[in-house]
Symmetry: C2
Subunit: 301 residues, 2 copies
């Protein structure tokens, strides 16, 4: 029988990665009420917003107010995305327990997304990471397009490894490997983890899947068979794909919990509370979210 972890840690990224890719504006008060619901679900980490310039992510322009007004649960670690030292300063002011920096494993996706080459991104992230660490905050490094890039196609595991090496050298505590366009199949997950786990212990690696083609749950299964027990997910499967406006977003926390609890894996998260928070944000967005477990529960007779 499969060898699976007994415990899996979920980071809820709906308020950041989810909303970042939604076109609708969610009122700040609704965001706060919703994050407060998530804070009571038993989830241990919530990425509550992004301190990227609002010009680039208007949906999260209220990051400071959100950070200041959410009710902090002492059992939850609150993180936010920070692009540079200025963003980090705003985030520290608003309150974070952990900072998240980001870049791509693909040169052209990095240029498209951050407007810098990979080489030019390193010194920026180095400074942010050092300053966050000086402020006593752990740092997660997001590496995106670790399997496929919308511009370059297949990304070699060695390219991903090179970026991981730099980020760990700069001092990140862990790295979240992102299937940004939700294109990977389990054999790609195997190949990447064979490479990465040859150099770093499992507990330093988080897997971040998008469910664009419905492969995310299978990819999580494969990751767990490699001992990975930390995953990013987004409530209801919020988000979407900038390259396909009708496509699914991050893997849904609801579906991940259905899988994990069904497998007898402990998460500490209350599915009922995740369900309620999903219906809340679904109502605010005014459209059905892509999570199949959510659709099932919402319509069960």
């Amino acid at each position: 029988m499969m060898n699976l972890p007994k415990y899996v840690q979920i980071k809820e990224v709906g308020p950041r990665d989810g909303l970042q890719n939604e076109k609708s504006w969610i009122d700040t008060a609704d965001k706060i009420a919703w994050i407060n619901m998530l804070s009571e679900s038993g989830v241990e980490e919530i990425e509550y917003s992004s301190f990227v310039n609002p010009k680039w992510i208007p949906a999260l322009a209220d990051a400071r107010e959100v950070g200041q007004k959410i009710k902090r649960n002492p059992n939850v670690s609150y993180s936010a995305l920070v692009p540079n030292v200025k963003g980090l300063d705003f985030a520290l002011e608003a309150g974070i327990d952990r900072a998240s920096v980001f870049m791509s494993a693909s040169e052209s996706h990095n240029i498209n997304n951050i407007n810098k080459s990979i080489a030019d991104t390193y010194p920026v992230l180095k400074r942010v990471i050092e300053e966050a660490k000086r402020s006593g905050k752990p740092v997660t490094g997001y590496v995106s397009t670790v399997f496929d890039c919308p511009h370059e196609g297949r990304i070699a595991p060695s390219e991903v490894l090179r970026v991981c090496e730099k980020l760990f050298e700069f001092g990140v505590d862990d790295i979240s490997l992102g299937d940004t366009i939700g294109s990977a199949v389990p054999s790609q997950v195997e190949q990447l983890l064979e490479t990465v786990l040859h150099h770093y212990p499992q507990e330093k690696i988080i897997m971040h899947f998008h469910d664009t083609r419905g492969m995310a749950i299978a990819n999580i299964m494969t990751s767990m068979q490699y001992g990975i027990n930390r995953f990013d997910s987004s409530i209801g499967g919020l988000g979407g794909c900038p390259y396909a406006p009708g496509a699914a977003g991050n893997v849904a926390t609801n579906d991940v919990l259905y899988l994990l609890h069904g497998l007898g894996i402990h998460t500490g998260i209350n599915e009922q509370k995740i369900q309620e928070a999903s219906l809340f944000i679904q109502g605010k967005l005014g459209k059905a979210l892509p999570s199949k477990s959510l659709a099932y529960l919402a319509s069960a007779i």
Copy 2:
């Protein structure tokens, strides 16, 4: 690395299991045009309709006309669902290459679905199977609710095995094990296959997953790790769940093909043609189908 089959055979059940659970009536001419499209996709088997009394499945009341008028591709095996000898006679008249009989592993689901106890169902199926074999037609036995029953909960693998034993004794050529309510997680698939494959060779067993909670692709991965290389799927994820009107149906052929082809597994099916046939039936139903790969391709920019 995982040990996976090199070739997987898909049975397209959209025209039967898919449409059976859709509320909209699809015109007979459209069904025929659509099945003709599927016949040109490279798929080797299509279940084109059901000869159950139209009172129970009004969506497929035109089974005879469909069977008579579809353009038969000599490389495709055309099957249909038959509940009894009368249904089999109609199916033989309309033209079938293979007959499918069905029952549940759960007593109460069987009573609900067929209006007979499991014990009373056996002699009916025995006669159909024998008569189909006398007419030179191979027979597939569908066993539903092999993991969980909506009335009884968890079904023991030993119960499923007992039904399989009977059906093989009556002469079925193979058995399709159905996760009718789409509730299984991979550990359940493992447990069932450990039991069933202890008694029967892999090539006699087909897995039939519904994607109600988004677990089907992971369950297919697990099945393939046990050597299973025959799956039922439904184009676009057509269908739905009688217990949850908004929930997903059969696992989508589109998503299965994305997985299999991504893993380098041969199917002989042209994804582009499946995509076109999906958009055709989606247009006739007038609603978005649940396949995530379809949603991605349909909206990619």
